[in-house]
């Protein structure tokens, strides 16, 4: 049993699970990932139906509801915020189950089956799920289909869109507003010039491959602040692993090159 569990768990981001641990014992950490693999209550129900090989046209409501509730309880225990849509479904399942307990008319017309609506939704969702997979697998532009895009020398007859500095800062403001992890991040002038120098140094090393450390500084024409910024940029590039800085032995020249360049 444990073996099937781990097999199933290993495939979490890929296809639907092939094995469900019958006893539902899953290490708590794994459970979270496991439940995350479901796209919602319908997905979970479909999974249970498939797993237990239940007949979708004649769903044993008691069984299904019980199994479903076990999962929902687990979810409630660890991920309360997830439970909203799932709880709604629990209510629906219980309602269907109780309606089925009511005395039936002698002749059951199919539309009267309290399960009909649920079955219709499950079938529709499964059909969508399958075509979504197909769409995902289809080769598409940017992922498997490569379209011609050779170059030609544009003569600028068409005016490209005009963009003001204001538009740009406005865009940046939007980004900041959305990216919550940027909340405390300040981008000041000092940091910007370091970032600019980082790009400049990379560009230079791309064309000249290897430079002696001192060549990166124009001591004659750059003022002290600029030299410092340049030095900070080199440190930052080294920290991000973008540069390789080498020295054969103490006091010999220090060489700087792009990391990964032969």
């Amino acid at each position: 049993m444990t073996e099937t569990i781990s097999q199933g768990l290993a495939k979490i981001k890929g296809e639907a699970f092939t094995a469900l641990p019958r006893d539902l014992y899953i290490p708590p950490d794994a459970l979270e990932v496991y439940l995350d693999a479901f796209e919602g209550p319908l997905d979970l129900l479909l999974y249970l139906i498939r797993k237990h090989n239940l007949d979708i046209l004649d769903i044993p409501m008691a069984d299904l509801t019980r199994q479903y509730m076990v999962y929902v309880e687990k979810m409630r225990a660890i991920k309360l915020e997830l439970a909203g849509d799932y709880l709604l479904m629990s209510a629906m399942l219980i309602e269907i189950k109780s309606r089925m307990l009511l005395p039936k008319p002698t002749e059951i017309v199919e539309e009267d089956d309290p399960r009909a609506e649920l079955v219709r939704r499950l079938m529709e969702y499964e059909a969508i799920k399958l075509v979504a997979q197909r769409l995902d697998e289809m080769p598409k532009v940017g992922d498997g289909t490569h379209v011609a895009s050779a170059y030609f020398q544009h003569i600028s007859l068409i005016k490209p869109p005009e963009v003001s500095l204001n538009d740009l800062t406005e865009a940046w403001r939007h980004v900041l507003k959305r990216a919550s992890h940027f909340q405390h991040h300040k981008v000041g002038r000092a940091e910007l010039s370091v970032r600019e120098h980082m790009s400049m140094i990379l560009r230079r090393l791309k064309s000249e491959r290897m430079l002696e450390f001192t060549q990166l500084f124009d001591v004659a024409s750059d003022g002290i602040p600029k030299l410092v910024v340049c030095f900070l940029a080199i440190l930052e590039l080294a920290r991000e692993g973008l540069l390789r800085i080498t020295q054969q032995q103490a006091f010999s020249p220090i060489y700087v090159q792009i990391n990964g360049d032969e």
Partner: protein, 179 residues
Amino acid sequence: MSETSNIRELKNVLEVALLTSHQPLSLDDMLRLFAERMERATLRMLLDELRQDWAERTMELVQVASGYRFQAREEYTTYLMRLNPEKQAKYSRAVMETLAIIAYRQPVTRGDIEEIRGVTVNPNVMRQLQERDWVDVVGQREVPGRPSLYATTKHFLDDFNLRSLAELPPMEAFVQTEI
């Protein structure tokens, strides 16, 4: 005086235009290439010849929803993928299912999508699809709140190598498994 003296020359112009265009060219686009008037039938014939000229070569001339384009033959995909190991991030299941619902059930509202998937639609999902230009708003449903109606775009068809929605893979009915 004809500016393009012969068929070879006309085909060359079409070839250059198609090889350098980043997006499919419609017949109207291509007619604009020539200063002189050209019949659509002539253009179609030229395109057909061009496709045959490339039949044994590296690229193929295909037709998608918004027009014609050259694309690499499938057998080269393995090589080309190596060029950009920086893989395009895969879309999540939520994104693909939402796309599928819009593609197969369009036009739909967010409410419709939520009804089918049984979960709330994350606004980020719609944003991704709209930014990719696969989906856009085509109107509002005339009910309280006038919710937006979403549909797939021509660009979606182009990107998925389709000429029309009719070419989408067919929806399969629920299959009872044996397992």
